[in-house]
Every structure is written in C-alpha cells, then in structure tokens.
Symmetry: C2
Subunit: 352 residues, 2 copies
C-alpha cells in the first residue's frame, strides 16, 4: 500500500514521541513492502514562535493533500500562549481549525485496562478489571464551533451550542456500527433534562437506532455518567456523546485505567483521518528522553487499522505488549527504569 | 431561635429520608429551646401526579414566605416524566424554577472522606485518604437558563450559554471567603481555551482575587479537572466553577469518596437558602425502609450551620458519626444490616 502521511510533531514532547511512532511505521513498511511517505509540518506553540500562527497555511495544505495525519502533541494550558487575545496565536485554535477544515467530525477513543498496568490506576482492581469501552465524541459541532461573543463593555459573554440532525446522524451510525462489532451496547450521554440540543440528540439517536435492532441503547445524563465512569466503568461498551461532554468524559475515562501514557485517539470524517496520543504536551519533559512514546506508537497502530492493515496493526500492538512485559518502559511506568523514549521506541520497532 | 422551614419531601425516597432530618431538627429544637415550624408542600413527580405541574404555585409561595427550604429528592431520569414535551411537567423543571425564583445562585457541596467508609470508595485508600474540598457551583446562570430553541422543521436546536460579570463576581467572593476559612486555595475550573464565557470568568475571577491576597488562585480546564479529581483529589481545597461544569464535576466528586449516601449540598442567594442530599430519588427503593437517611440528616445539619447554630450542627454530626461507628447503618453501607431508614433516623435523634 502507498500512503502519504502528514506528520505534525507539534510542541513539548510531541516531536520525540512521534519519532518513535514513525520508526514503528517504517519497520512495518519494510516488512510488508508498503510505501509510507512521511512529510513533516509545524503546528502549535512551535508554529506560533516560528511563523506567528498556530496553524500555518502550509501545514493545513499539506494535511488537505495527504491521506492521513499523524499528530504529536499540541501545547495547551500554557498561559503564555493560551491567554493571547488573538485566537490565531492560541495553540488550541490550531487543533480546532484542523478538525473543522479536515471535516473530522468523529473522535474515537478506546479505553481499556492493561493487566500489567492495573496497579498504577487510582481505582481498585476489582472496579477496573476488564474495563473495555470506546467513546465516540462528536468533534466539529456544538458549543465549540457556534457563535461566541463578548459585549463592548466586556462584562457579558455568550457561547452558542448548536446541533443539526445531520451532524448527529452521521456519528450515531458510526457508534452503532462499532457496537455491532463489540458487545452491542450504546450508551448515549446528554443533559436532556436541561438542554434543547440534548433533546434533539435523543430524538435523532432513537431514530437511527431502529436500523440497529441488535444493539441495546440506553441514556445517561452527563452528571450521572461522570459518576458511573468511576463507580462502574465495566458497564460501558460504546459511549456516544456531543463535543463538550466527550471532551470531559474522555479525559476522565483515560484517568481511571492507569494507562494514560498508553491511550490514543482517532479522529475522522468522510475523507480524512488523524491519529494522536491522548496525553498532553508536557513541556517540562521536553528533550529529556523521558517521555513515554507508547501512546504515540498506539496512534500509529490505529492508523494502520484504519486503512485495513489489520495484521500490521496487530504486530505493533504485540511489540508494545512485549515492551511492557519485559519492563522496557519509561519513568512514568517504572520509577527505576534505565530506558528512555528512544530505547522504548527502538525496542518496539526492532521487535516488529 | 424561631425558624419557619418549608419541607419539600419530593418523590421516591425523598419523604422517608426527609422525615428523619425533621426528627433530628426536632430533637435539637427541644434541647436548645428553638422554635422550628415545619410546613410541607409538594414538588416533583408527586406534584405532577396530584396537581399537573412539577412546582405548584402554592409550593413556590410557601418557599418565598419561609426562612429556609429543606428538600428531599426530586425524581429525574424517569422517561415517563422526563420526556414530556411540556416542561412544566418535567420534575427537573421544578428544581430549576425553584433555584431561579428563590435566587439561589450559589451551590456549595462539601466533599470529604469518612475514615470508616473509605473501603466503599472505588478509589484506592492512598488516593482518597484526607480528601476534603468544597465545590462552589454557580446555580442560576449559564446554559441552564439562557435561550433555547428548536427550529420548525425540528432538525436544528440551540442552547445559549450566557454569563455577566455580576453573576460571576458574587459567587467568586463566596468561594474566596470560604477558602480563607480553610486552606487558602481556589481552583477555578473552566474551558477558557474554547469558550468566551470561560474567558470572561477568568478575567472576573482574577479581578476579584486581588481582594484576597492570602488566597492562592489557579486554573484548570474542565477536562483536566475531571481527570485530576480521580488522579489526585487531595490537591483541591475550594473548586469554583460555572453551572454545567459544576453539575458534572460535583457528581463525579461525590462518587470518589465512597460516601455518596452521606453527602449533602446547600444552595443560597442573598435572601433564601435550600438544603438537600446530593443523591437521587431512587423510586425503586421507595417505601421499603431501606434508604439511607444520613445525607438528608447532614443537610439538616448544614441548615443549622447556615443560621449560625454551630453547636447544634456539631451535635447532629456527632450523632451521625456514632451511628456509623456503631454500625447502625442501612443496607448500602452494611449488606447484613438489620437497620432501616427509620431505625437509623431514630438512633440519630435519640443520640442528639
Ligand atoms: C485543545 C483542546 C481545544 C481540545 C478540546 O477541548 O477538544 C483537547 O482538550 C482535546 O480533547 O483534544
Ligand atoms: C435535576 C437537574 C436539573 C439538576 C441539575 O442539573 O442541576 C441535578 O442534576 C443537580 O445537580 O441538582
């Protein structure tokens, strides 16, 4: 297979971890005789420093002209950038613009526990053991992308949350299709007791559900869902939700397994797809060869799966599991480790 | 002290648990020679069944003409009521209308671990031990109360989230004042990388913070906060946030301690105050004498504190702790118990 992959290393630890993901993909390409062409471009804080905007035209064009995007991490939470009144100069803006321009309306985040890592979860083993679900988060609608305003006196602000039936329908189909390949259960999360958009979501999701009679559908309010994720995460198979609730719940969910450094997410639309680790950019760890590259390598495996390269993806996952089994892991997973970002990446690509 | 207390038992287990709270208050009134006058009124699903509206005029008037409201539970999550297109007939509507009409702009929810109950938390002891924080949630603004609409074709919905400087300022003062009586730390939770209202919150909170130089202020994005509540809940002292984020985070927070059946919340404005347990109405448990009355009794203790009756409140708390110590608790805390709602309530009011 020929694939042109846009690589956006981003800032913080992004460049280091994405390099390990590239190595894994390269190993796969050699082994299976695929041709993967990588092309790098700037995004986030580094792009602001070098070009003045968080998402340079050139980067966007590259993404529009490649098959798929592999993203490192984009800094967020650094007041130096985040409080800039010019939105163009806020790293988060790059992420949002990229999602919108590439039409990445669905974000898919698998959450599962790794037997060898369960001890590092804040939750008790009996609560999280066997947890295995996927969150489908709508990614280009809702309060993220509708009108915002601040009045002239700067003492009143508004954000509009808008959803259309069409936006809800397309991601709902994806969630139900995913459930059919799993345990046939979709939990729709909303706040229908308060929000009009949530009531529209409920109606539309119920309509779509008729096409999937083998899938059980239930509803949870977002506050209850936030509680249930901690009390009994095993109950979930596929969670379907809107943009903002998905943002909150997927971060909460990734905290419960003890495997934050191992989780990645896929965002896709009808044409494009983007893969990235779920962790942040940790500028403090930058350049120290201590960042855990596994989530980024997992994002590469998800990329392979996306293009139907199932066997290839499986090999990457197996190599990762071996690294964990042999304790070839970074500081976050083993405080006494002698392995760094590079060594873990080397081990994985050699094992492939 | 003379107090006129409006009691709204609500539906589900509400009436049973609020009865135990009344008993505790009665015991206190006898002991300290206070005059507490209780007057009951309908709210929620029972009010819909009996009068056709979730919050009858009569109930609202009673609340407007008393010093304070003691609320049981109001059913929410039952599709029979929740999906009624007529908002007046949805139980949640009663809660929202009551908040607005009584001007209850601040919701205060203390979260702490009880040594004797830590085993029932889904989190590991070393994570939650010593957790003790308060959430200040803005309660009459934001996306809950601004414009909502559904277009004629019923395929596009919107909810507006609006905040004014004034709404933010008044609750921010309360949060900082609370922090001064505690560990002097306020964590403001928002989504300033995406929302205009969050950026207004940040600006206003920073302005108010100048009046409290002894209080440390920091900011967290709501997704990170949802993660940190699970990873390291001890880091928090006072959490300050807007309405919807507060709804989600306070339910998540109450799940981590293992003490859901023991937590209550206070809502207040400039004139009125309302106290209630944080748990739901559990219609399945109704009338079985198995519901845990402690959260409702705790809400009565919070009521006493609110009126400066510190010693009285302390006695109630001590009686509750004794009940737990002697294992005079309901099913949820001890599967082999022989005590029901009534017996636990009796024990507490006798011990006072
Ligand atoms: C950076 C930020 C805008 C983004 C979001 O809120 O979607 C992030 O938190 C995420 O979940 O990818
Ligand atoms: C019943 C519902 C409207 C309410 C809310 O969302 O505020 C409830 O969840 C709460 O937290 O008190």
């Amino acid at each position: 297979m020929n694939l042109k992959i846009a690589v956006l290393p981003g800032d913080g630890i992004g460049p280091e971890v994405v390099l390990q993901a590239k190595k894994a993909l390269y190993a796969i390409s050699v082994m299976f005789d695929h041709e993967f062409i990588f092309e790098d471009a700037l995004i986030g804080a580094v792009a602001i420093d070098k070009t003045g905007t968080a998402l340079p035209e050139q980067t966007l064009n590259l993404c529009l002209n490649t098959d798929v995007v592999l993203l490192g991490t984009v800094g967020d939470g650094d007041p130096k950038y985040d409080n800039n009144p010019d939105a163009q100069k806020r790293p988060s803006q790059a992420v949002l613009k990229l999602r919108k321009e590439l039409g990445l309306f669905a974000n898919k985040r698998p959450i599962k526990t790794y037997a060898t890592l369960m001890h590092s979860s804040p939750l008790k083993r009996e609560i999280i053991e066997g947890t295995d679900f996927i969150i489908f988060r709508e990614l280009t609608g809702g309060i993220y992308f509708s009108d915002k305003s601040l009045n002239d006196e700067k003492n009143k602000a508004t954000d509009v949350c808008e959803y259309s039936e069409e936006e809800i329908t397309r991601i709902t189909h994806l969630a139900f299709q995913a459930a059919q390949k799993r345990r046939n259960k979709v939990t729709m999360v909303d706040k229908a007791n308060v929000l009009e958009t949530s009531r529209l979501w409920r109606n539309v999701v119920q309509k779509v559900a008729y096409d999937y009679p083998d899938v059980e559908l239930n509803f949870l309010f977002v506050d209850t869902a936030a509680m249930q994720l901690v009390l009994n995460p095993r109950q979930f198979d596929v969670i379907l939700t809107e943009n903002l609730f998905g943002d909150i719940l997927s971060d909460e969910a990734s905290a419960i397994t003890g495997s934050i450094g191992l989780l990645a997410s896929a965002s896709f639309g009808t044409k494009k797809a983007l893969f990235e680790p779920i962790h942040k950019s940790f500028p403090q760890a930058k350049g120290k060869n201590i960042a855990n590259p596994i989530a980024s390598i997992v994002s590469a495996a998800m990329l392979l799966e996306h293009f139907g390269l199932t066997e290839e993806a499986k090999l990457v996952h197996e190599a990762i599991e071996k690294a964990i089994e042999y304790n070839v892991v970074t500081l976050d997973l083993n405080p006494g480790t002698s392995f760094g970002t590079n060594e873990v990446g080397e081990f994985v690509s050699n094992f492939i």
